[in-house]
């Protein structure tokens, strides 16, 4: 058999492509439900972590069902749905493309130790890819209780530091609005933050820090309208 003939080369390429396609498609389909379940549990884990409930991924579902009392979907300051599944499954990447007041975005109402907390999902752009997170507010809809962030591909040691306590521990106690006027929380150059509306950014991770800054301003705004009325 001449392995360098045209006919053989074409046949080899065709067979190779088909084999690889079947293999990869099979793996992708077969593992999909497991992968999606992992992603869902991780999301519940992050939602819980923002109000200080730290659980293993395998226990996330049970704790979520217990702590999260309501999932509201909000548009222009009004509640448009109270269905838990609809709220949980809102695609934030798509939702933030709309103007602030036209967005349908979810808010999780948690109850921990008799206190109500509001948990707000965030989504924005980092340096290399999307960044996201959750901010939880006290029942006054203003004071931050906790925040956590995630990212797809920020640089380890630089931008990726937004997920570490060094960055997120700055958030508790900060405020998002002043006398009813929405302020957001600014991420500023490391070592220069003062007051209730600023946190230090990551030195060497300026673009990621700016991304988080824009994300906070952009994603918190639609809720400020809702909090005015409570």
């Amino acid at each position: 058999m001449n392995v360098n003939s045209n006919a053989y080369t074409y046949t080899f390429a065709t067979v190779m492509v088909v084999v690889v396609a079947v293999l990869l498609a099979g793996a992708s389909l077969g593992l999909k439900s497991k992968q999606e379940n992992n992603v869902k549990q991780e999301k519940m884990q992050s939602i819980l972590a923002s109000v200080g409930v730290k659980v293993e991924r395998s226990e996330a579902q049970a704790n979520y069902d217990e702590v999260i009392k309501e999932v509201l979907t909000i548009r222009g300051g009004e509640v448009v749905s109270t269905d838990r599944e609809i709220g949980f499954n809102v695609d934030m990447a798509g939702a933030i493309k709309a103007e602030n007041m036209d967005r349908e975005v979810p808010m999780y109402v948690a109850n921990k130790g008799g206190e109500n907390y509001y948990i707000i999902p965030l989504r924005g752009k980092g340096l290399w890819g999307p960044v996201w997170g959750f901010v939880s507010l006290e029942s006054d809809g203003n004071t931050v209780v906790g925040a956590n962030f995630g990212h797809k591909s920020e640089t380890p040691g630089l931008g990726a530091e937004i997920t570490t306590p060094m960055f997120t521990d700055q958030f508790p106690g900060k405020k998002i609005s002043e006398a009813g006027l929405f302020q957001s929380i600014s991420v500023v150059k490391q070592g220069t933050s003062t007051g209730d509306y600023m946190v230090d950014g990551i030195s060497g991770g300026t673009i990621t820090s700016n991304g988080v800054n824009d994300m906070l301003a952009d994603c918190l705004a639609p809720y400020a309208e809702y909090f005015k009325n409570i």
């Binding site: 360098n4 053989y8 080899f12 690889v20 990869l24 793996a27 290399w128 040691g157 630089l158 060497g204």
Partner: protein, 224 residues
Amino acid sequence: MSTEVKTKESLFSKKNQQLLKDPFNDNNPITVQVLGICSALAITVKLEPAIVMSLSVMFVLSVGNVIISLIRNLIPNRIRIIVQLVVVASLVILVDQFLKAFAYDVSKQLSVFVGLIITNCIIMGRFEAFALGNGPWKAFLDGIGNSIGYGVILIAVAFVRELLGSGQLMGAQIIPLSWYIDMDKGTGFYANNGFFLFPPMALIVVGMIIWAQRAKNTKLIEEN
């Protein structure tokens, strides 16, 4: 390399041991062949991703080497590079899919580096230079040897960069916090060297390793 004599030799004969050892020193993929520099720059800021990356490359390189070696007589010469690429890419995607389903936390750490494995020229280089002309067992050893040679340098660079750049190793603080300069209190004498967090320092560290290696082993020095 393809003029290999078909005689029975033991699994760990002198020649086979050499396959494992060579990349470690005289034929190191990074410091001597200067391959895989891209990933050596990108993921050596911290020790942990460097270790995970080394293990992933070890898996992809050794398994890929065996696959290429098994089908080496079937691959049409003109499309062999494409075939090699397809093998690396599918292996990497399969690994990624399995990690996402069964070891989600590891997969999150790997995230961007998975793509870097595909572009790692050490892998294509070993497929082309070795697996195409040698049997599966030899190819497997060559894969393990080269990925260890790669991993050792990667981990060494990451060690230096994480220690000097952030004062930590594997995310744990090594430099005592009381050493750090505190402007308010006027205490301390130490500050992290932020420059180590940037890619150029990886090149400089790799350069120093090359320097040290060549100073010790003069036969590596090219004659001009």
